[in-house]
Symmetry: C2
Subunit: 306 residues, 2 copies
């Protein structure tokens, strides 16, 4: 089939890069990304949405090219002062990044929803891709670790992802998906899951009310975040052995998503999982062109499978 509308689920940097690739190759209006908000937290009194910001900055062409977080050409004057005054400095908030958090926090305080604010920011950054938070309510990802239960940023940033994770969970009732999320999935020809951490980037989205069921009705293609038996970035490589009791591999990713997947894009040379259509491709995106190339391969693969 000819793919006209795509939904991409996204968490951190890998997912954002693939979304940027899809935005490059799809016509305007064709792409919606649904973004993890399980990492959101309040710091310095500001409401911070790391994965939404990664998508915004990446699609606006403002993201730092190598660092994996924050903005290119960023300064850290506020952080230096907060540190001098004895405030918490373990989360490295840049000055321009602070501008985003200040505006978002103010708009939330004025009563706007996270969905509405995200769309305001999207328009201010002149991004044509629709960006939807997975939900409009707090839904913090919690991690049971050998050092006790930690919230996401405490674990990943403050403790550098070191405490071994034994369980990932979310407190409170299952939240409704944000307005537009289920409709976007229902209208999509294909759902793409980026090369993100399944446990802490994608599962929070799938766990919002109705999302997994809506996605299950669609052709779903994932890009494996595992390359040569290791995670491209971040703590995933250390999480799979404890959480899935196996070595990191494309097969571990395939099994994690299970019957949801119609196909998996894996790194060339990696062993394909049994019983699932697989496309070997260069999955590590170093340049913007790499993103577009991988996105085009993902879409071509989806057209065959859908």
């Amino acid at each position: 089939m000819r793919i006209q509308r795509v939904v991409a689920l996204s968490g951190g940097v890998g997912g954002a890069k693939l979304v940027d690739g899809l935005a490059q190759v799809l016509p305007p209006g064709a792409l919606t990304t649904i973004v993890n908000t399980g990492d959101d937290f309040v710091h310095w009194g500001l409401f911070i949405c790391p994965d939404l910001d990664t998508i915004l900055y990446t699609l606006a062409g403002l993201a730092h090219p190598d660092q994996g977080w924050g903005l290119a050409g960023e300064t850290f004057g506020a952080l230096a002062m907060v540190e001098r005054l004895g405030g918490p400095a373990w989360f490295r908030l840049g000055d321009r990044d602070l501008g985003t958090h200040l505006v978002r926090t103010q708009r939330l305080a004025a009563g706007l929803s996270l969905t509405a604010i995200t769309d305001e920011l999207r328009r201010a950054y002149e991004i044509s891709t629709s960006i939807l938070p997975m939900c409009d309510v707090a839904r913090p990802t919690m991690l049971d670790t050998r050092d006790g239960t930690l919230d996401f940023q405490e674990w990943l940033v403050r403790r550098r992802g070191a405490p071994q994770v034994t369980r990932v969970w979310w407190p409170g009732p299952v939240p409704p998906a944000a307005p537009g999320v289920i409709a976007a999935i229902d209208n999509a020809d294909v759902v793409v899951i980026g090369p993100s951490n399944p446990y802490v980037s994608i599962d929070p989205i799938l766990a919002c009310d109705g999302v997994r069921a809506a996605i299950a009705k669609k052709p779903v293609i994932a890009v494996s975040p595992i390359v040569g038996g290791a995670a491209v970035k971040g703590p995933l490589g250390a999480m799979i052995p404890t959480l899935a009791r196996r070595e990191p591999s494309a097969a571990a990713i395939a099994d994690h998503y299970g019957s949801l997947l119609r196909g998996l894009v894996i790194e060339r040379g990696d062993a394909p999982p049994d019983g699932l259509p697989t496309l070997p491709a260069p999955t590590v995106m170093k340049t913007r062109d790499d993103r577009a190339r991988l996105a085009a391969e993902v879409l071509a693969f989806a057209e065959v499978l859908a």
Copy 2:
């Protein structure tokens, strides 16, 4: 008499410079400054105390040398981003300055008083002078103008002080002075009023409960903010004609403070007011040495008068 303990009332830049001069020439522990908080306001969700920050930055040696506000070597990344996102950008908050506001706002939210937070900041900046806000409650200076009633920052910064002021006032009940304010005045050998705007920098302090009465028991020396018939800085020169119906002069300042004053330091060459001991001196402080020199003259004059 030998002066051992000094209280200085301070508002903006001129007052802060004289406090820095007094801090240079007095022994550690001898000086307390009581600072106007009528300019305080909430912006970008942050609690901002311009006059307290001017004192903190000036005494810490961090203030911008010429500009009259903010920090030397400041960056404006957050402001640029807020502006890009359509937020209010008329108040030019620098990045390092933001660090101070973020920490103060967080500490206020944690339940600390402005007095306690100011002392934390003072210690973090390694300042030995005691710094007391005039009061711990909101006490916004309001200005009736030809364009309607405006709050202080709206008038001074957003409207550049242009709307002609017909009345300065404070809503709500008279607030108690902050803890330590009355005791500091009672313990002082002399009270120095800096070359500040009497209407919007000093009157707010005098209007806190008990302050004027406590000061009235002490020898009070003011430094005139008028030089050659004009204000050294800011909108004072335009305020005196409408509020006092006379031209700006040392005599206008003397009459404004009235019986409170025991002496007035005026610029050399300016006409002295009738019936008040006057010391002509160089009152414009361009260098740090100028501040110390003027402070020493003020103290010598006070020793004679006290």
